[in-house]
């Protein structure tokens, strides 16, 4: 769907022909309201005064005509919380008797995780998380005027769905771009990252959790495995490896660690 991806700098003007326009038939059908809405993703802002759409970060402008959305793709930067993201946070402390302060990236203000936002938690049974522990949570509230809020349970079903404290293992830092690619549904085809699959092919047994804030948690029975996974991820990130290069790098890494 995305054929042309022009490079943009902040403040550039966007070629109006790139902006997806609602088709005439859709305007008549029942879905007209939904189809006529253009969704702006990260990196773009809408100037209400002139009606123009202006990029705010350098990157490639990606237009998805089907979903009628646009965003600017870029690799790095610092994580800014937005609702629905799954993140790995570090608990700072428990405060006020009913919430945890959790840090999503160093030197930023803490996010709030209520004690009751866990599966099966009640006033009598609260989760015990020591300062420095890691949690896998979803962002439930994020706007620029408030500290972000997290939850470890799905509000609709009351189930954790894999969220909650991360015990053991270790966590590695990756760039925001790589974290996004790892979280894609089809990470090998669309994200061009298959390094975790290759490591599994070589016989390593481990489990991972990926945080949109640039953190990957890895747990395995063997320390060597965890070190290998961490090094493979960091090499993929720093050296910008393609899928073939990732396969070769994994083979080389396993051999050198034997």
């Amino acid at each position: 769907m995305e054929t042309e991806r022009p490079f943009v700098l902040p403040g550039d003007s966007i070629d109006p022909s790139l902006i997806p326009v609602p088709r005439q038939q859709d305007a008549q059908t029942q879905n007209s309201k939904k189809q006529a809405v253009l969704r702006l993703g990260p990196g773009l802002r809408h100037m209400a005064a002139t009606g123009a759409i202006v990029p705010t970060v350098p990157g490639q402008l990606v237009v998805d005509g089907r979903k009628r959305s646009m965003w600017v793709e870029s690799k790095g930067g610092r994580y800014v919380a937005s609702v629905g993201d799954v993140v790995i946070g570090q608990v700072q402390r428990s405060a006020g008797g009913d919430l945890f302060y959790v840090n999503l990236s160093p030197y930023t203000s803490n996010a709030i995780l209520p004690h009751l936002a866990f599966e099966g938690a009640s006033k009598k049974t609260r989760p015990q998380l020591a300062p420095g522990a890691l949690v896998y949570a979803r962002v439930s509230l994020a706007n620029r005027h408030m500290d972000p809020e997290l939850e470890c349970v799905s509000p609709a079903t009351g189930k954790a769905d894999g969220l909650g404290p991360l015990v053991g293992g270790t966590v590695f830092d990756v760039s925001l771009g790589l974290a996004r690619r790892l979280l894609m549904a089809r990470s090998r085809e669309e994200g061009q990252v298959a390094v975790l699959d290759f490591l599994g092919d070589e016989g390593l047994a481990f489990e991972t959790a990926i945080g949109r804030n640039g953190k990957v948690w890895v747990r395995s029975d063997s320390i060597k495995t965890m070190i290998a996974v961490g090094r493979a991820l960091q090499k993929t990130d720093e050296d910008d490896l393609s899928v073939d290069d990732q396969r070769k790098m994994v083979k080389w890494l396993i051999k050198s660690m034997r």
């Binding site: 420095g132 890691l134 053991g168 966590v171 060597k224 050198s256």
Partner: protein, 293 residues
């Protein structure tokens, strides 16, 4: 107060477990340094040192000034280090942290007090004029082991630096500009380097060289040994921390000597390459009045 970013419990436990299984996170051996890269700038005395992700920039400069009253025959030599928010947002401007104080003290003892630079050669007119040589060490990026990298950078920049040539006729001092006469190197006596060991385990039994920021956060003790390639020790600093067996400290010192010889050879090589690069026409060899030591 600046908030220090601490690693998570999981990371800390993982590093300790790995060390107990004889493994480091980046696959290095316990007594192995990260690759050390040295690059000199266009101007004399500017050097950038990269030790893994730690980056240090050192610049040497000289100015004519009045000597200290109690030392009329010596020049002045100062080393200024500063940890700025560039190294990490945890550091604030003009607010020295413990790391910074320790770093500048160790550099003082290693480079200044050991007499690496001959301060008598900096005197111009006894009691009235002398050179004030100053090295500014800027920490650009902090990923552990600042002391070793900063000391290397200081020594490299002082050896690379050239001060303006001077002459005295009938009591009148003339300082020549770089356009009039080629600048001359400083009077250098010996090159000290620092080697920092970090200790882990209940009795400090695991010793590791060149710790990264994460490894430094979990260590229980550390020891910095400063020596030159002849095996002359300038200082040993083990400031608190878990007590360590004397025998293992001796072992650390002998491995440190091996590393220092490697550093010394690397620095000599890089300085020679830089001199060759500048001296395309072969003229500089004739201008030099340096004594071979």
């Amino acid at each position: 107060m600046p908030r220090e970013a601490e690693p998570s419990l999981n990371e800390k436990q993982f590093v300790i477990q790995a060390l107990q299984s004889n493994l480091r996170l980046d696959g290095r051996k316990f007594d192995q340094y990260r690759p050390l890269e040295v690059s000199f700038g266009e101007q004399y005395g500017v050097v950038e040192v990269k030790l893994g992700k730690t980056r240090i920039l050192a610049k040497a400069s000289a100015e004519v000034t009045v000597p200290y009253v109690d030392r009329p025959l010596d020049g002045i030599f100062t080393i200024a280090t500063e940890l700025s928010p560039m190294a990490s947002p945890a550091f604030e401007v003009n607010r020295p942290t413990e790391t910074e104080v320790l770093l500048s003290r160790l550099l003082e003892k290693t480079v200044r007090r050991s007499g690496a630079l001959d301060t008598e050669s900096l005197c111009l007119v006894a009691g009235q004029k002398c050179w004030h040589v100053r090295v500014d060490v800027h920490i650009l990026s902090h990923d552990g082991d600042l002391i070793d990298a900063a000391c290397f950078a200081t020594v490299a920049s002082l050896r690379h630096f050239r001060k303006p040539d001077t002459s005295i006729e009938n009591g009148v001092l003339t300082v020549y500009t770089p356009a009039e006469r080629e600048p001359v190197p400083l009077g250098w006596l010996h090159s000290p380097f620092c080697v920092t060991w970090s200790f882990y385990g209940d009795e400090g039994e695991i010793a590791v060289l060149d710790a990264t920021w994460l490894e430094e956060a979990v260590r229980v003790g550390s020891c910095t040994i400063s020596l030159n390639r002849h095996g002359e020790i300038c200082q040993i600093a083990k400031l608190g921390g878990t007590p360590v067996e004397a025998l293992s400290l001796l072992q650390c010192t002998s491995i440190a000597l091996v590393r220092v010889k490697e550093f010394s050879a690397l620095l000599d090589k890089k300085l020679a390459e830089d001199a060759k690069r500048r001296d395309r026409g072969g003229l500089l060899a004739e201008l030099s009045a340096e004594n071979d030591r």
